[in-house]
């Protein structure tokens, strides 16, 4: 099993003709993701040529695309100036999940968009996230698929390459994953650690969960409390940003220590207090996961 994406995913790519969109559409198709179409306004009626002569239709609007393809998921690769509009359109179109890769969407715009998504009961993953991959089933986003393999570990992370670092170590050691989810580095994201934990809880194949957090906000702290109250499965944690100075944004718009809140120390302590073992180094995640699996 897996969470968020699977063989049942029917994916539309928003911005399919763009530089990033077209490259990653091919990658996703190569991996076997069921890409059912794409959207680029003004290019409706054309086709997108994927690997091995596969063709998928391009539509002008999400409304037409969903109507035609019965898609249930969309992924947004459009530039930040148009990303809000693309997400709004996706929410309005009837898909269940919108994965927003785009970095640089204004926070006030996201505040309205998340409200809209809640109103329509649509899940947003991201923005500013690498997407999600369920090894052997489907990949939506940009996570390199060579680094994953099927297995019993669920991975949730606020970052991209740090996730790859953790996952590749697991894979090298033969520890596969059910699903790896990048929830995004922005301050306002649609799917939180807790949202993913809830899904992994219900996913029978997931036996251990890895949570990779970072400075800024209190999402990790709330997740830790949730874990101690609602989750039987073991969780392994890692927090980046131990050495980050307060008040400075560390790349991710959401990675900023405000006043004395959101430090790595606070998060690590909270993990440990709630029974989550914390890896000191990324490489240590593998050992902790293996120990948890063997319990």
């Amino acid at each position: 099993m897996s969470i968020l994406v699977s063989t049942k995913t029917r994916l539309l790519v928003q911005g399919i003709t763009g530089r990033d969109g077209s490259f990653h559409t091919s990658e996703m198709m190569k991996y076997g993701t069921n890409v059912v179409g794409g959207v680029t306004p003004g290019k409706g009626g054309q086709s997108f040529g994927g690997p091995e002569d596969q063709m998928v239709p391009i539509f002008d609007t999400m409304e037409a695309a969903v109507k035609e393809t019965d898609a249930n998921t969309s992924v947004v690769y459009v530039p930040p100036a148009f990303a809000s509009g693309a997400m709004e359109e996706a929410i309005d179109s009837g898909v269940d999940l919108v994965v927003s890769i785009t970095e640089g969407v204004p926070v006030l715009e996201m505040s309205r968009i998340h409200a809209f998504a809640r109103d329509r009961k649509v899940r947003i993953l991201g923005p500013n996230c690498p997407g999600v991959i369920s090894p052997g089933k489907a990949k939506v986003g940009i996570i390199p698929d060579q680094i994953v393999t099927q297995g019993p570990v669920g991975v949730i992370s606020r970052s991209g390459t740090l996730t790859y670092e953790a996952v590749v170590n697991l894979t090298r050691e033969g520890v596969g994953q059910t699903t790896c989810v990048g929830i995004g580095g922005d301050p306002l994201i649609g799917t939180s650690f807790i949202d993913c934990l809830e899904l992994f809880k219900e996913d029978e194949e997931t036996r251990v969960i890895v949570m990779i957090g970072e400075i800024g906000g209190t999402d990790e702290q709330e997740a830790a409390q949730w874990v101690s109250q609602h989750l039987e499965k073991p969780v392994v944690g890692f927090i980046a940003g131990q050495t980050a100075p307060p008040g400075r944004q560390m790349g991710h718009a959401g990675a900023i220590i405000s006043g004395s809140s959101g430090t790595a120390d606070e998060k690590k302590r909270c993990f440990e207090e709630n029974g989550i073992r914390v890896a000191a180094r990324p490489i240590d995640i593998v050992d902790l996961v293996r120990e948890s699996l063997n319990q």
């Binding site: 990033d20 930040p80 100036a81 970095e103 640089g104 969407v105 204004p106 926070v107 006030l108 996201m110 505040s111 309205r112 998340h114 409200a115 809209f116 109103d119 690498p130 940009i142 996570i143 390199p144 680094i147 606020r158 970052s159 991209g160 390459t161 740090l162 996730t163 790859y164 670092e165 590749v168 580095g185 301050p187 306002l188 990779i212 970072e214 400075i215 906000g217 209190t218 999402d219 890692f238 980046a240 940003g241 131990q242 050495t243 980050a244 100075p245 400075r248 944004q249 560390m250 790349g251 991710h252 718009a253 959401g254 990675a255 006043g259 790595a264 000191a280 180094r281 990324p282 490489i283």
Partner: protein, 377 residues
């Protein structure tokens, strides 16, 4: 992006919020001229992107020209929490009856703007929050509806009992919320919001941060950026689309991805070293970005070793390798360069490096250990 007090006040003023007049200068003589216009007592205030100005001596009351000159001379050029003061704001001193706090920020949990008021103003609000959390009233704003009049009224009532002060505060709260939204702010604060003995409510100090992602919509605010107050290397990084934060250590770090960059810094520390910077070259893999990154890192005289930690995804390892080789042609680099290259096109990258007489590791742990050991030699 943080903006200065006088800039924030300009935005407030343009949004109909009563703010005493004021002008900035970097020249003590001009400070005296400005003060003379206002007559009587003025306050000389350091314009600097840092809290705690008062405690650091960056805010001074001056009762005559000599005192203004002295205060301006003292403050201009001083350093507050590592930031040099280049200009002071001269503003009339106000008679104060009460001091309150009014702020707006984005709450991550509710994904909404939150307005905060506290009748205890003029002091550090974080400290008040610790000491007396119930004194701060917080109101979540539903982004679908914005601020309702009765909500502004309720907040104003938490500050004042006099109906006339309440009315002024309602207008200020409504205008501040509008300014917050219209400017694409991530934080705005009036502290203190004063009431005067003559019954006026005014913003005496103001702080504002603009969401970097909104700046493109607001060229007038983009012009507020104080390049002088920003370390040269950070200006260069920003203009090249790199995320860079200078730190105090000696291990220069060049990483792709923010999370991995932080984890790299942490691992440097774990092995007993001190990171010299945070640097994320981002998802693209333009070799020129790598050249710029190396220029930025080497502009820091503390740097003793340069550590690359690249996990290729969108970023292609051959592009990074090409950038390193190119940079070595353009600039002279004395420090050793320790490279970790893995992921997309790593083999091509390794070829390029070895053709230039360099090598690379594949493990993050190894490369960090190695880099730190260089600084401990």
């Amino acid at each position: 992006m943080d903006i200065h007090e006088y800039q924030a006040k300009e935005i407030l003023r343009n949004n109909g919020i009563p703010v005493p007049p004021g002008r900035v200068t970097g020249n003590p003589n001009q400070a005296v001229d400005i003060a003379n216009e206002y007559g009587d007592k003025v306050v000389v205030k350091a314009q600097v992107h840092s809290g705690g100005r008062g405690k650091a001596g960056g805010v001074k009351l001056a009762k005559n020209s000599e005192e203004v000159f002295q205060a301006a001379t003292d403050i201009i050029g001083m350093t507050i929490s590592g930031h040099r003061v280049n200009e002071v704001l001269i503003t009339p001193a106000e008679d104060i009856d009460t001091e309150a706090y009014l702020g707006i920020l984005i709450d991550r949990k509710t994904q909404s703007p939150v307005i905060m008021v506290c009748s205890e103003g003029g002091v550090d609000i974080e400290e008040v929050a610790q000491r007396n959390p119930n004194s701060i009233r917080k109101l979540r704003i539903d982004p679908r509806y914005g601020l309702f009049r009765h909500q502004a009224y309720g907040l104003a009532r938490a500050l004042y009992r006099d109906q006339d002060l309440v009315k002024q505060a309602v207008a200020i709260i409504e205008n501040l919320y509008q300014a917050f939204i219209d400017s694409g702010a991530s934080m705005v604060e009036i502290n203190p919001l004063i009431s005067t003995p003559t019954g006026c409510v005014k913003a005496i100090d103001a702080k504002m941060s603009i969401d970097n992602n909104e700046l493109i919509k607001h060229p007038e605010i983009q012009n507020y950026r104080d390049i002088q107050a920003e370390p040269r290397a950070e200006t260069m990084a920003r203009e090249s689309g790199l995320s860079y934060v200078k730190l105090d250590g000696n291990v220069g770090c060049c990483v792709n991805g923010a999370g991995l960059a932080m984890a790299t810094m942490d691992l440097v520390k774990y092995y007993g070293g001190e990171p010299a910077n945070f640097l994320d070259i981002g998802g693209s893999s333009n070799p020129q970005k790598v050249v710029t990154a190396l220029k930025i890192i080497t502009s820091d005289p503390n740097v003793e070793v340069i550590l690359f930690n690249i996990f290729g995804g969108i970023t292609r390892c051959d592009d990074v390798a090409r950038g390193i080789v190119e940079a070595l042609k353009e600039i002279e680099i004395d420090s050793p360069i320790i490279i970790r290259l893995t992921g997309t096109n790593d083999e091509k990258g390794l070829e390029i490096l070895s053709a230039a007489g360099m090598s690379a590791f594949t493990s993050m742990d190894d490369v960090v250990k190695k880099a730190v050991s260089k600084t401990l030699q």
